[in-house]
């Protein structure tokens, strides 16, 4: 991995960008959000975002998806009307990354689609959409807000960023997500998978629970 070492503009603690694709990280010492500009770093905000939840993951957790190893580098925490979930950036090497969604014991790994379907004017639960020859059904349509971050991410996180997030599924545990914000339109394709299928290592300890 090509890494960049620097110091936190806020507290002076050493910080490191492990991936060439990483554009921002959080200082593990003071929680500041730090953005990378080639060889310099910029302090974006100093707000200790306490990820007070019971996630079993942390930066550095490794796993295997469809025979390929990955490491979780960081996450975004999103909120909608009725709850929160996390999207972990999973780095597979060779500048390739996927997103591991973690929502109430469900795990979905997805990758940005190279040939996304045409954007529709509206999305409703139950609606059928063809993506790459497969018919997906819209399960839910939610307005989401980015509320927090942790670790390294391949884009610059904006707290309070709002988007429309559409979850779709198809037989065979196929999963898709459409994310829309203004002119931004991204489609991610992947699968639902059982926690145990990933063979996770270096998991976070969950207070009060013993994981094998």
């Amino acid at each position: 991995m090509s890494s960049l070492q620097s110091t936190c503009p806020s507290c002076g603690a050493p910080i490191e960008f492990h991936l060439a694709v990483s554009l921002m990280t959080t200082c593990v010492h003071c929680g500041s959000t730090v953005v990378r500009h080639d060889l310099n770093v910029e302090l974006l905000g100093k707000e200790a975002i306490v990820m007070q939840d019971m996630s079993p993951f942390q930066t550095g957790t490794t796993g295997v998806y469809e025979g390929r190893s990955f490491m979780l580098m960081g996450r975004i925490k999103l909120m909608y009307d009725f709850g929160t979930w996390s999207e972990w950036y999973a780095y597979f090497g060779n500048n390739e990354g996927g997103w591991l969604a973690e929502a109430q014991g469900l795990y979905m790994m997805s990758f940005e689609a190279e040939n996304p379907p045409a954007r529709q004017t509206s999305y409703k639960p139950g609606q059928r959409i063809m993506i790459g020859g497969t018919e997906y059904t819209v399960d839910d349509v939610r307005s989401v807000t980015y509320i927090g971050t942790e670790g390294e991410l391949p884009f610059i996180f904006e707290k309070g960023f709002e988007a429309l997030s559409i979850d779709l599924s198809a037989p065979g545990d196929l999963f898709a997500n459409i994310s829309i914000s203004g002119d931004d339109y991204h489609v991610y394709l992947g699968k639902y998978a059982e926690f145990d299928s990933f063979g996770f290592k270096n998991l976070r300890e969950i207070h009060g629970w013993e994981l094998k």
Binding site: D53, M54, T84, T137, D139, H207, L211
Partner: protein, 423 residues
């Protein structure tokens, strides 16, 4: 596995004050659950952020305590679960109630443990949704055939503890159940959308052991909707062996019939002029591989009867076997319909007839229903055949082999009847 629950570290519980009554409310799955019912006043409070707004003010009386206390941990299906919520739901049409325990594990998420009339089912969310268009009586899902069992609507009567959605007392949803015991697929729908879940039957003893329930658990009443049918399982398990045995027997019987060439030993006609006569066949020799002899009696009777007692005598060994042939045949016309009764022919198989010289003695007696005078002579025929394939042993064996299978099959049908009886 169940033993783990006693070794668990201090529990992770977050608390806040109920905005309605000020009592302490526990949150056991922060970040995962969205609402909690205050155990003091019964109000439902939003836990999605730290403002703790009241979703529904005390609309219920906290009278029903869950049998498995909130905070209990137990191992089911190989994983440890903590009970964090409890609700009672009711079928709107038939007014029966059932209980649902919400189970939580920070890694595996949520499960429901449903208790209905003493039957328990462990339910999880379905991510790979069934290909169900709506209205089908049957459909396949992951190799099992599901049958629609019931459709209806359910409402929430009572909530206690925390939930991963904003639960409210009186919430209504449409529910359709499809069964393939021990599994049940449920489709719940409301204006917001629809969701599938899959449940698997759990024996009450497994629940009792998992959560170390000291007290009594509800007795099983009738048959659970997804309770496995033990007779069907047994009948299914027996089916291949039974089928193979029956096929093998039929083949053996057929081969036997082919290789054993039936051979006529003797055929003789007797003339009978009086009501009683005694005849003898004279000595005849039998040989061959099978130790049986089929003796057939044929008489051209019309509205008459013939009773014959045979004695088959093994001349060499000086042994005898006996058989009787009560033969009668009647016919007539009644109300424009012709009828017949009895037969003009009867055969019997004598066993253990060894090779050698034999003789048959015949003691015959005959009569008419309506006395005809003078008596007509009767010519009857006796046919003796060797190497007859016996069907009696075959039939007895067949019945014995099929009996356990039929027994379980019938019990299975009765069991399935019971499953539907209470709906």
């Amino acid at each position: 596995m169940a033993g783990n629950s006693s070794e668990i570290k201090p529990r992770f519980v977050k608390t806040f004050s109920c905005p309605n009554c000020g009592g302490t409310v526990d949150v056991r799955a922060p970040g995962h659950t969205l609402s909690a019912a205050c155990i003091h006043c019964g109000s439902v409070i939003s836990t999605s952020n730290e403002n703790y707004q009241v979703i529904q003010k005390a609309k219920q009386q906290l009278t029903r305590l869950p049998l498995i206390p909130l905070g209990s941990r137990g191992a089911l299906a190989g994983r440890t679960w903590e009970v964090i919520g409890f609700m009672v739901r009711e079928d709107i049409q038939w007014h029966f109630e059932w209980e649902e325990y919400l189970l939580f594990n920070p890694v595996y998420g949520f499960r429901w443990l449903v208790q209905s009339a003493g039957h328990w089912t462990l339910v999880s969310a379905v991510t790979d949704k069934p290909d169900y268009k709506g209205g089908e009586k049957y459909f396949s899902y992951k190799g099992n055939k599901y049958e629609q069992f019931s459709t209806g609507a359910a409402k929430v009567n009572y909530v206690y503890g925390e939930f991963y959605w904003r639960v409210q007392v009186h919430d209504r949803t449409n529910v359709a159940d499809f069964i393939s015991p021990p599994f049940v697929l449920s489709l719940e729908s409301d204006s917001e959308g629809r969701s599938w879940s899959i449940g698997e039957y759990v024996e009450p003893e497994a629940v009792q052991e998992a959560f170390q329930l000291k007290g009594k658990i509800p007795q099983k009443e009738s048959i659970g909707i997804n309770q496995p049918n033990p007779f069907k399982k047994r009948a299914r398990r027996m089916w291949p062996v039974t089928a193979i045995t029956v096929i093998a027997m039929v083949i053996m019987q057929a081969v036997f019939g082919l290789v054993t060439h039936r051979e006529k030993v003797m055929e003789k006609e007797f003339s009978m002029f009086t009501p009683d006569s005694v005849f003898t066949t004279g000595p005849f020799v039998v040989g061959g591989r099978l130790n049986n002899l089929m003796v057939t009696l044929k008489a051209p009777l019309i509205n008459a009867w013939l009773d014959v007692s045979l004695s088959l005598r093994d001349v060499t060994r000086n042994e005898s076997q006996y058989a009787s042939y009560p033969l009668s045949y009647y016919e007539g016309v009644e109300d424009g319909e012709s009828w017949t009764e009895g037969s003009k022919e009867l055969w019997k198989v004598m066993h253990n007839v060894r090779n050698g010289e034999h003789i048959i003695m015949i003691d015959a007696e005959r009569g008419y229903d309506v006395q005809v005078s003078p008596m007509q002579p009767l010519f009857f025929t006796l046919v003796v055949e060797r190497n007859v394939t016996s069907f009696s042993n075959f039939i007895i064996a067949l019945v014995l082999i099929l009996l356990p299978f039929l027994y379980n099959g019938i019990r299975s049908i009765i069991f399935e009847g019971g499953r539907y009886a209470d709906q």
